[in-house]
Structures are given as C-alpha cells and as structure tokens.
Subunit: 320 residues, 3 copies
C-alpha cells in the first residue's frame, strides 16, 4: 500500500477488517516490524483523536514518530507552480514534501478544505501534490474530501457489533452551529457503498433537502430526506453534520428536528449509535443516547488505533 | 495508586521518598516496567519543568509518551452537564477524557484555576471529572488547588539535604507582579503538615495579613505574619508568592519587605533556600541567594524527575 | 565535543565529513550509543528541517528526544543580570538553562538574531549564556550569527558530489522580500574558508555592494560584486539571501538581476546548485534550476541528518 486516501486503495474490506481485529487482539506482536522506521505526522489543521491514535498505532509497531504542526508554525505552503514567491508563502510544497520524505519512511497528512473553492477542494490538489513530491507512502489523516482512517474505523466497529449478517446502516445528517466539511460523510458513504457491494451492509443516507453529497461518493446508497422512514429497522445510526455540497459550504435553516434522540431511536431495530467525535451534545445527538447503552462512540474512537495500525502495517510490509 | 492528586493519596511519606531516592540511584533499572505502556500528558495550561521532568521519568521507565497541548489547539472543553452545546466549547469532557483514556495507560493533567470563581476552583471540578470519565490512573501535573509532584519533590529535596532529624521548614510568602494561584503553597502546606504528623519536619507558614491559605491545607502548621520571627532557627526556607484566598485572587499592597535576601538569611540556621521555579529574581528572591551556596533551587528542580518516576512506577505496578 | 557552535569547534574537516558519511552508510549501527540518553531541542524560533533532521539523527543513535518550543509557550527569558524581574520576562536564563540541563544529557538551542541590535546579536550573548548555565554539551540549531549544522551539511554534500579534487565553490547572494539574518552565509563562509585552508575547496563570495559580510567570517575568501565573473568555472553555486551587516538588518534595492537561473548557470562548469531551504522560487532561484538536474537542494536537506548525527555521536562518546 503506497497511499491510503480513499476506499479505492483497498481491495477486500473484510480481510482488512479481520487484519485490524487481529492487531487489536495482539497490539504489540509486531513491535519489530517498525524498528528503525519513522512516521512523520504533518498537520495543517488541528487534531486530537487522529494524532493520538495514529501515534499510538505507530508506537505499537515499534516506529519512531515525529509530529509536525505546520499550522502552528505559520509555515505557509505554496502549492501553485509558476508563481514568483514574493508574497506570504514561505516554502513550495515541492521542497517541503520532498524534504519531509527524506526524513521519514511514511508520512501522514491532515489538511482541511477551504469550504470556499469547491473545485480546488474536490480536486484534492494539496494532498495529491504532497503524495507526488514526497516519494514515500502517505496516509491521509483527513483531507479536503475524505477521512479514510475514520471510515475504516467505522467499518471495524460495525463488524464487531453487528447482530445480523448484513446490518442496515443509516448515515443521518444532524444540526450544528458551524459549517462543517463533507469529508467524514463522503468518506463514510464511499466505504459503506463498497461494503454494500461486498455484501457486508445495507446502506441508507438521510438528510434534509439541499444537503445532497456529491454523487461520486454515494453510488448504490438509498438516499432519503425522511429521517423517520430511514430509521426503520436500522441496526446502526451514524450521526453527522455537514454543510451543503451544491451551494458549497452553505448552511440552510432546517425546519424539522434532525437531532438524534431516544424518541427516534425507538423507530430503529434498537440501533447502535455512532459518531466520529467531537460531538456537540444535545445539538447533534442527545446526552441520553451518548450516556446510554446504545452509544458506541467511545468504542469507535478506541478503534481508531487498529485502523491506523493495520494501514501502517501494510505500508511497512511493502517497505521491507 | 489510581490517582495522584493530593497528599491523601499517599500513606507513608518516608517510604515514598526512599523509593524515589532508589530510582535516583538507578534511573534505568526498571526500563522494562513501562514497556508497551503509554503516558498521555494533557496540558490545558503551559508547562516547562513539569512536562520535561514527567516525560523524562516516563522514558526512564520505558514508557512511550504523547504530549497533548489542548491550550494551543483551542480545543475548548465543556464541563457542565445538561448544556446544549451550541456555543464555543467543541467537545464535552465526558468524551474527551474517555477517548484519551482509550489511547493511554496513564494520563497526566494540568489545569490552572480561574482565580475568579473560588467555589468552582476549590471543588476541583475539572480534575475530578477528568478522573471520573477517563477510566485510567491520573497524575496531577498541577490542578486548581494543588501541585503534588512539586510537593513530593520538595519533600525528597528536604530529606536529602537535612542536617538534623527533624528540620524546621518555613514557607515564606514573597512579592510578585502577578496574581498567582494558591496551588503550590496549598500543596506544600498539606504535604508538610502530614510530614510533621509523621515526625519528619517542624512546619511554619509566614505571610502578610490577608494572605491566609484555606485551613483545609494548613492544619497543624504554625502560622505567623512576622517573617523575621518565623525565620529564627529555620533549616529550610521555601519562598513562594500567592494571591489571596479570602478575597479570592486579589493582591494587596504589602508595606514590609518580604523579599528573601541574605540579610534575612542571617536570622536562620544557615537555611537552605527553595523555590518551585520560575522565580522572579530580586523580586521574590535575591540574586545573591540564588547564585550562592544556600540555594537548592536547581537540585530541587532536578528532583522533579524522581518524584514523577516513583508515582508512575506505583501506577504501572498496579496495571500489571 | 562540548559545544558545536562554529567551525572552530572542529579540527579536521575531512575526518568529520568521513565520519558523517559512514553514519549515512549505516544509520542504525550505533543505536546503543545513545541508550538512556536524552536530547532536548529548545526552540526560541520556528524550525522544520533542523528539528526533524536532528530528532531523526538522535533517534538513529537510540536517544530519547524532548522538543521544547519556548516561542509558542510565551516563556520569555531574562538574559541580563542585575535586573529586578518585575516586567514581562518570566524566568532568568540562569535557571531555565540549568534546569533543562538537569533533564537532558545534550541540549540543542535555536535562537535567531533581532537584526536590530548588531552588538547584542554578534556577541552571541544568549547562546553563550545558555552554554554557560546549562552544564551539558550544546549543539547550535542556528544562532544569531551562525548555522553550523547547515554548514557541515553543505560540506558533506560538496564532498559527495565533487568531480574534481578541489572544486570551486561560489556563495552567491540572491534577492528576497524579507530582511534575513547573516547566520547561514556567515557560517557557510567560515566553513568554506577553513575548507580552503585545508585544501578542500576554492572559495568565492559574490554579492552586490553594501552586502559585505563581517570580515570575521570571510578571511581568505575571494570577494566580488560581479556575479557573472564569479560564476566562471564554478563547480558549486550556493544561493542565499542576506541583509546588510554594515547598515545592520537593512535591505537595499539592487538594480542588477541576481536571481540564479539557467542563463547564469551556463557561465559555470555545469555547477551543482545548493540552497539551505526554504527557498523562494523564481525570486532567489529559478524553478527551472530547482526542478532540473543541477539542483542538489533535496539531497542537501537530506544530509542534515548525518551532520546532526555525527555531532551527536561525538558528544555522546565524550559523555561515556
């Protein structure tokens, strides 16, 4: 594996999940695999769960880890070619990525979208250039349009907690006070669509009119603007806010109450409730659910380690 | 040891000090004890000595360390239940603490008081909730009302440098330009009061009128507003500024000169002078003392490693 | 080696380069040398390459590393003696350096010049006081007037890529939008002058009138304000901007075009082009050179690891 960016970088989802759960059972069994190998984690945006879980995963494999907070260093990168660099960008991504690739055996990169320029965000220009110029394998720690370590985590968590062969999974839009990227729902959707193809889940997306995701990510999903109907017989409800893709980055007032709560939970098949965190309590998701027996959010966050570890393991095996 | 927050978490002070000094004699002897164990150091406020010494202590025991600067990430935590999170807090302490507990075997937490809301500060709400929700052992790296790793360090330092069985220790208030918390003097006082109970020291507190500490921390101490009298026959003088507890966080003008200097040192039994650092030279404590033979401040700071290491050692032993 | 600050800290340059290249050939051969030793990297200014390469070098030698970003912690140091510390500085360098020396076996320090007070900058007051008070070996990670790890890297890179016994090396001033320190060119110049003394290179400096470096660093160098003439027969061109030393920190308008490009490259002996990075593309150095076969900038950056590693190795050997 030279790149972990989207579900297209994985062949068989079941095998990847099985490998991740084997690492969960024996976290330190491969402590020699990463010996003398260095992981560089590059953040252009803040991170809590992703940084800690990926760092922990790397240490479990015996790797050294260097964290690079470029957001805090004010080290503005130039990404365009043919620009005379007489302004505020201090280094071109060609040099910055290449140099970090010289010091590290694997790199992770986090970079959020602008939410202003749809085309620039959706071409994943920055991530792709980073991959191109750094010359080592790259793990996405969330990019403009995707968060694949989160989605793999979610698939692992669903596999662990399912009671039926092919559970019904609902991605349910929820309210928020800020305009959030589509990266998490895009990514969850493309992973669930592939999981559906491979016979692992039955997948539905519910959101208010105007919050349609890009069709690139939702092929094969049932899509509805009726939350109550969508929740019928659901085994897993994945709660998440996102801003509009069509009117890029916009937030519309939504008349109906889309916050997930116990009342809505009654419509489901006693569904387990998931969220990538951080969650706004009693805005996106009720406290009664978060503090009750149906919530998987902490177990889900915990599984971030095994998602990262299985990806790093595969990359390390290729380096050998 | 599931928690290291106050002197109440320790039974026999002499044994703890003896264990710490054994680690100082052989710092790397237990490098296998922390193998495959991760310490997470969570800072809601800046730290120099505490971070470095605790990180060093953990590495001496073979642990992996992850540092989490939540103050710099602008990751504002919600601590109250029943709040609709539609404001500026991005994550509830219930989730944040639980998730960090999933990635780490032991957590350290630093969180300063507001110095505005005495009740909130003195109930140690944030620290207690963190302990409650994270599910792993927690070391205080200084909380609203206490700094126990500093106080254990101070006891170790006194034990190493005493010339008599039961030295006279004086906590002496000193001037400053800012309103400082009571955490260090509270903590030093509760440790010295317990040390006095166990026959290890004779303890006096000297401060100007209006700077009384909470009685919760000073039971058994001699308390005086006469510095010169208090310094008579002192073997150790512990210099520290703090703001008012009664008029919470206030700073009163003090007419008399409370800065510790060589003139005052003559009143003592050639006392050793201590300070937790950072120290404001020639405001709290004179340069002539700091650069002279009576100062223990660097040796004291150095001992921070062994205080942290003995606490982590006890926690690791419980994890096994 | 107790200090790595200038070329004067090294006797035989050839032997140092040879040792560095031996480490490059076997990076992990000495993983036991740094066992139980801790490197503290103290930054009063930001760093990307220096931090990562030095951290990597230390890990290659089996050291533990602690990074201390004092710039981000707002931990303002007092460097003057005899000052009543009732202002904004929170700790004196006497205590800060001494304490860090207690927690670390070797320290690295980065501190940029003010570019306002020439005398203060050129006496290297801060670096020297840090060395004096910390009591352990100190590596400069760039100080007010020098960047020795960069210069050693450059010498290693020239040694690797030279086609003749004694190549002609030209340090060529280039334009920039900001007023930059003289540290890199000073340092490169003092290393090349010594290399010239030891028969390793032939050294020329080219810069516009008004950009003369301090003579302290350029003894033995040919100096010219004619770029075209200087480039004749050059085997290596080292491109770098700096601000005026005479009119300290000033930037003059320069009429002629001093940007290095392919047209100018034709004047040379098919010279290899070097730059310490970050580089402003098409301002200091043309993209066509940076993306072409004559550029060494990435290989040069990569060699930062071996420069740091050989210096740390020598310091560790002295500690044993």
């Amino acid at each position: 594996m030279k790149k972990f960016f989207s579900v297209a970088d994985v062949d068989d989802l079941s095998i990847l999940v099985k490998d991740a759960l084997a690492l969960k059972a024996s976290p330190y069994a491969l402590r020699d695999l990463g010996k003398n190998k260095t992981l560089g984690l590059v953040f252009l945006n803040p991170s809590l769960r992703t940084r800690l879980s990926t760092q922990k995963a790397a240490m479990n494999l015996g790797m050294d880890v260097m964290v690079i907070n470029m957001d805090k260093d004010g080290w503005a990168l130039e990404t365009q070619d043919g620009v005379v660099m007489n302004g505020t960008t201090v280094e071109h991504i060609r040099e910055a990525a290449a140099v970090m690739g010289e010091y590290c055996d694997i790199l992770g990169l986090r970079s959020f979208p602008s939410l202003k320029d749809k085309e620039a965000d959706y071409t994943e220009d920055l991530f792709n250039k980073f991959v191109k110029f750094c010359a080592v394998p790259v793990v996405s720690l969330e990019s403009a349009t995707r968060h694949p370590l989160q989605s793999l985590t979610d698939l692992i968590t669903i596999s662990e907690h399912k009671n039926v062969e092919k559970p019904k999974v609902v991605l349910a839009w929820a309210p928020h006070v800020k305009a959030l990227p589509q990266a998490v729902p895009n990514s969850f959707s493309e992973w669930m669509c592939k999981a559906q193809e491979q016979g692992l889940v039955d997948f539905t997306i519910a959101h208010p009119m105007g919050y349609e995701l890009s069709e690139e990510f939702t092929k094969g999903a049932k899509i509805s603007d009726n939350l109550e109907e969508s929740l019928q017989e659901a085994d897993f409800v994945y709660v998440k806010n996102w801003s509009s893709f069509a009117e890029y980055g916009e937030v519309y007032p939504v008349a109906q109450n889309w916050m997930m709560d116990n009342e809505k939970l009654k419509l489901t098949n006693n569904a387990k409730v998931m969220h990538c965190l951080p969650v706004r309590r009693d805005l996106e998701l009720s406290s009664e659910i978060l503090d009750g027996p149906n919530s998987l959010v902490i177990k889900e966050a915990s599984n971030r380690v095994w998602a990262a570890q299985v990806v790093l393991k595969r990359m390390l095996e290729k380096l050998k």
